[in-house]
């Protein structure tokens, strides 16, 4: 999952607005606690997701993720809901079954559990959709520039850029090291094999990282990097951003008010 070129509303928002948007939405996900309001939030985010016109493969990924998450939360909450009152709607193991029944006290599917699970998965979905929307519509360097404008120092921003740039290379290196270990006969199966493999992975990986870091540092140095720099890219705060700010602030205030009053 990565940045997609496009011209949706989200693409046009300023990176700072999107940072604010993520924060307020994250708060909303936690604050809202009625099934109805969470459902509305979820539907809105879903609309946002489709507004970007994601490719079919992304929609598939999202669908599988949601189906798995929904199934897992519904089942686990339905089975292990411990708050009273709880109403069994389906019996899996009766409490008078020999041995297992005694041990478990019976296993039932509870209606309240299913309901609670549905609310939780609504939160999960919203959080997943939110991050997907941000990743798909914000170029990493814009996000870093946004952070920068919000007061995060340039050096920290540069560090973030470097890590986005070099993390994939690091992963490839790790993969090659693991293959090389296997080829030299190391058995990586089981916990013991895993620990052993990790031990032999961490030495070359760390050293390779240090060598690379040194090269990167020298290269940045000779290109005059000191932390202070002009930025050719500019972020533009438009009326669209102001509107987004207003709507999000209002939503947040309403949500808090609803929680406090009830």
């Amino acid at each position: 999952m990565r940045y997609l070129n496009g011209d949706s509303v989200f693409h046009r928002l300023d990176a700072r607005t999107k940072i604010f948007l993520s924060l307020t939405l994250a708060c909303l996900i936690v604050i809202l606690n009625t099934a109805g309001s969470l459902f509305v939030l979820f539907i809105l985010l879903l609309c946002g997701f489709f507004l970007i016109r994601p490719p079919a493969s992304y929609i598939r990924i999202m669908f599988y993720l949601m189906a798995t998450a929904l199934f897992a939360t519904l089942i686990s909450q339905g089975l292990f809901y411990y708050f009273e009152p709880r109403t069994p709607i389906f019996t899996i193991i009766r409490s008078d079954t020999p041995i297992i029944g005694r041990l478990t006290g019976g296993i039932y599917l509870y209606r309240e559990g299913l309901f609670y699970g549905a609310i939780q998965s609504m939160r999960l979905f919203s959080a997943a959709l939110l991050s997907m929307v941000i990743v798909m519509t914000t170029y990493p360097s814009d996000l870093i520039l946004g952070l920068n404008k919000l007061g995060v120092p340039e050096k920290v921003g540069f560090m973030l850029t470097i890590s986005i740039r070099f993390l994939p290379l690091l992963m490839e290196g790790a993969k090659r090291i693991i293959t090389a270990q296997k080829l030299r006969g190391l058995q990586l199966k089981g916990l013991r094999g895993g620990i052993k493999g990790f031990r032999y992975l961490i030495v070359p990986l760390t050293i390779d990282c240090l060598r690379k870091a040194r090269r990167i540092a020298l290269a940045a140095e000779v290109r005059g990097f000191t932390g202070k720099r002009t930025e050719i890219k500019e972020l533009r705060f438009t009326s669209l951003d102001r509107a987004a700010f207003a709507v999000m602030s209002l939503a947040l205030v309403l949500a808090i008010w609803q929680r406090l009053v009830r």
Partner: protein, 455 residues
């Protein structure tokens, strides 16, 4: 003008100086090639010019350096970068940004130029390097040669009069090297001063106005000759046998559906042959080698490795050895001896450790940490550590990259010796001279079809 007078330099905590009594004058617009084996101090000399020495790397400096009357020892590195730009060996670790346009502006932004001037300079630099059409591309999608041109563009945009190149052709293929020569020619025609540090220098001999030879930190008065004869491969004593170790028939491979990297590959390699795989970056050399080792399985076609049809990697452990390009990713342990014993220990075999130590010439360094060895020694150790499993086939991806002449000819001698002992060896290389050691070439072109060309 660059003037160096009686320069002696030692790295922090080093007992012997890396540079001794160097005196050198380089005039404006000159193209100077600095050559010498690994450890001769040629890169160190470059660092004294761009200010990394002493500002970043420290150490003790004696003597005097001036560039256009200014002393790099007294200016911050950033100020030096205004008139002397540096391009290092590995383009990958010199690209910081995700977009080409951002990368080419990087240096100018650091010099705090006004935004409109940065845009102007960026476009001009990209145009000059033939990269303008890639302005909005993402940096990680570029080829090796394009990455290098991007790095040069970014330095060019900063507007230096002096260009310093540290082993610029090590990591790129033959086409990339040709393009690089064109770039240097262009810079020369523009009146820029160009200083190139290399250990492969035949290709530059026509471009360079002067060749400076460094040996153990000193300038060697003798001008280097083309020493191709020194590296002449030995004649093999034992011809390849009839048994076929590797056979590929109609092999096709694709990472992305409908975009094959390899197509219609028919190759037969016999026992104890020494085969070189050559071709530009992106022609599928690494992919072919991985298929030969069972690391990748073809989309269609048949691969027979040591009599097994389309085997999995796990079935070949110990029988087929594979070496990735970077030896450092394949040295896991804390001593040379432990490294060689690693494979045999896993597979429960006992070996004659002395024999393997002799093979890589590290008898006196058996307790050293592998990562403290020189690059050439690390490469040899990585090869020998794979050999300790006594494989029947050894496959190496670009084993000569980054090695100086002595190191790679040592390695090629070792590989030739192995084939005499009955091991089949296949290696990919950009190094034309190393390729001469092979019994024959497999040439891959970008049209994805492989031809087993007899030498």
């Amino acid at each position: 003008m660059i003037s160096i007078r009686n320069l002696t330099y030692a790295y922090p905590e080093a007992h012997t100086p890396a540079l001794q009594d160097i005196s050198l004058e380089i005039h404006d617009g000159e193209c100077v090639l600095i050559v010498g084996p690994t450890g001769s101090g040629k890169t160190t000399l470059l660092y004294t010019l761009n200010g990394l020495i002493p500002h970043v790397l420290g150490g003790r400096t004696d003597g005097e350096i001036t560039i256009n009357g200014l002393s790099p020892g007294k200016l911050p590195v950033r100020e030096i970068s205004r008139f002397a730009g540096t391009v290092f060996q590995d383009p990958e670790s010199q690209i910081f940004m995700l977009k080409v346009a951002d990368e080419v502006a990087f240096g100018c932004e650091n010099l705090m130029m006004p935004a409109d001037e940065i845009m102007r300079r960026s476009d001009r630099a990209l145009a000059e390097m033939g990269m303008l059409h890639l302005r909005d591309a993402e940096t990680f999608t570029l080829s090796g040669g394009q990455k290098q041109r991007l790095v040069i563009s970014s330095v060019y945009a900063m507007g230096p009069d002096i260009f310093l190149f540290d082993e610029p052709t090590t990591d790129i293929d033959a086409t990339g090297r040709k393009e690089f020569l064109e770039i240097v020619k262009g810079l020369k025609d523009d009146g820029k001063t160009v200083i190139i540090v290399e250990h492969q220098y035949e290709e530059f001999s026509q471009l360079a106005d002067r060749v400076v030879v460094l040996e153990r930190g000193k300038i060697n008065g003798r001008v280097a000759h083309n020493t191709e004869d020194d590296a002449a491969p030995r004649r093999r004593q034992r011809p390849p046998e009839l048994a076929v170790h590797l056979r590929l028939e109609g092999v096709r491979f694709e990472y992305k559906k409908g975009d094959p990297v390899l197509e219609d590959i028919d190759i037969e390699i016999r026992k104890n042959e020494l085969v070189a795989v050559v071709g530009d970056n992106g022609s599928g050399k690494s992919t072919l080698l991985k298929i030969m080792a069972g690391l990748l399985r073809p989309a269609s076609g048949e691969v027979r490795i040591l009599g097994k049809t389309n085997p999995k990697m796990d079935d070949l452990v110990g029988q087929v050895g594979f070496l990735f390009q970077n030896p450092d990713e394949q040295l896991f342990t804390n001593s040379v001896e432990e490294e060689i014993l690693f494979g045999p220990k896993q597979t429960g075999r006992t070996i004659d450790i002395e024999r393997y130590l002799r093979l890589c010439g590290l008898e006196s360094m058996r307790d050293r940490h592998p990562q403290t060895l020189s690059r050439g020694q690390r490469q040899l150790l990585a090869v020998v550590s794979v050999l300790a499993l006594e494989p029947q086939i050894l496959i190496l991806d670009e084993p000569t990259t980054g090695l100086d002449r002595k190191s790679w000819s040592d390695l090629m001698d070792l590989l030739s010796a192995l084939t005499e002992q009955g091991v089949t060896v296949v290696f990919a290389t950009h190094n034309i001279m190393a390729g001469r050691y092979a019994d024959r070439y497999i040439h891959l072109d970008r049209k994805h079809s492989g031809k087993g060309q007899k030498k």
